[in-house]
Amino acid sequence: MKILVAVKQVSILDDEFEMRDDGRGVDADFFEKDLNEFDHFAVEEALLIKEAAGEGAEVVVVTVGDDEADDALRTALAKGAERGIRVWDDSLAEVDSIAIAKVLAKVVEREAPDMVFTGAQSADFGHATTGMALAGLLGWPHAAVVSKLDFVPGAATATLHRELEGGLEEIMTIQCPAVLSIQLGINQPRYASLRGIRQAKQKPVEELDLDALGLGGGAVTSASRVRRMYAPEKGQAEIIEGTVAEQAARLAEIIKELRGI
């Protein structure tokens, strides 16, 4: 039994930041990188299933990213995943989530897992599309925002709960293998032990380029591109003081300013 968990190293912005000169992203000096919070829950869910299944079960983590993304994989490996896969090519820099899904689909074909987990979304861009696009490319069933999961390895179906609007909860059965995007709070992610962290350094991380996945020659392109990123100007607030007449006069002044009168 094998569960493949797609993880991402996300950017965590400082309170104060500056944009890059090209205006399409934040200057790298102004953010830290860390494993996506949602992915901690996806990894934990896979580990719980593996531990309940006993011997022969395997959790494999995969990421698309440059060598800095190894930290995200090592974090998951330290918690108990068996091995990692990192796919990178400079042409993948700043591609959209659909392009990432194309890469992941090839990894899934190669690994043939019994189930694929992703986080419900990434904490930095929040597209929430990678898992859905991956399922579409594979032709697999998909369930998003899974808040509870009952899956016995080898079973033809899994039962899961999904959170809906208005506090509703949906219980559904899904054919396996499937792609599930995992919601925060589905479990309590563990902290890696120091021993686990040391062992993670020895665990195998396979590095693949696009050619190795049969995706060379410009086969992976984005369907969308970021044109501009900026922080909108913040609204202004003013406490109007004075007598009622003074307050009314100031209010009229503000209305005139806003309407350009």
């Binding site: 400082d14 309170d15 104060e16 500056e18 790298a28 000096d29 102004f30 563990r190 902290y191 890696a192 032990s193 120091l194 021993r195 686990g196 962290i197 406490i239 003081e241 004075g242």
Partner: protein, 467 residues
Amino acid sequence: MASWGELPGLVDRLLDTGDPYAALGAYPFAHAPDRQALEAVILATPRLRLTFAAAPYAPADLLDRISIDADGAHRLRLAKNPATPPSALARLLTGDASERIRRYVAAHRHADAAMLSALAVDRSVQVRRAVAGNRNAPRGVLTRLVAEGDGLIDRNAARGPFAGAEILQTLWDTGERHVRAEIAAHPNCPGAVLDQAEAMSDALIRRKLASNAGLGIEALSRLLTDHDERVRAAAVRNPVVAGDYLDDPEGEPSPKVRRIFARREWLAAHVVARLAADPDDWVRRWIARNPAVPEDLMARLAADPVMEVRRSTARNPACPAPLLTILAGDPAAWVRAGVALREDAPEGAISLLLTDEDPDVRAALGRNPRTPASTFEEIARHPDKDVRRAVAFNRAASVSVVALLAEDPYPLNRVIVAGHPNLGRAPLEHLLDDPEPQVRFAAAAQLARRLAPPPAASGGLHINHCD
């Protein structure tokens, strides 16, 4: 005990590893030449410079160093950082400082009188308002600002500790109700204004007046019978009200006021008795913690149907030993945990609790120095990280138990145990290689602290602790 001669050895090791967080931990304890070398590691990249410029745990000398060649982003972070020293703040104001930076410096707790005097004539009213709100603003500066007649400046100035009677009188005469309320609470408020405030129909002003510790007992005793419960509550809370004046809440209709009575010390016996029988749970919760409660009433509160009242009794320093033993067998774990926290709990109570598996009770035992060493080890291996952390806080935890926690999977537990006096040299050095930067910082700080000489024997060494 290692000698001072070993601190340079630690610095060499930190320089070799190039770890900025461990270097930062040792920085306040290092000699000046070593500090320069450590700065090269701590500030090695633009990202690190930005991180530490904003870090409230960064030593003042390091922030001063960053301010010397700071660009716009660094300057803004330094201006917002509460640990930035006056020397660095003064440097931020040189040249063409932006309005944001001037505003943050004007509000900074380390801004001195000279800076505030200069900023008090700033062209931006936002900056001048920030100066008026700074608790270091001297009287002369406040006088100048109040002359502007800006409502927000007035409100800020009315709170300033250095606002004198003359400024307060001026503001009272011209200010709106919130300004007047601040003046009524000010320790420098002129006597005539205090009298006027007491006669005001606005409850906000009377409430603030009732909180003024400079108010006479006669005025306060009148405010104790005010028709507004918030005014009475403020008067009961006022430390000037004591002894016979803290009398008899029998006719007090407001449970909110009775709750404050129950929190006051030196209550008369009949007041304590009445509060202990109060129908409001919160009144009984507060009085159950009051050391003035006699043993017979304490026994009644220990049997209260509300669990939180029994918990308060267990936490009362005057709770007698036999009652603690009874509470150690309480059906509510939160009450038993209250007993387990007590260093003065009788042997019988501690013995009863040692077999208690509830996480709150285990955590409380973990904090209690009277807990047997064998139980400490069990608690240090508890599956709940918060329970294990209790032992890390316990100064009585043995060398072996503390070493166990140095391997804890939860990083915060390792951070705390790095500062434990019983953590041995070897596990502490091992934490210098921890995957978590916070742990490496704490371990390096603790090692350097141990290796540095006591300040009195340092021969002029300046140790600049993190602010």
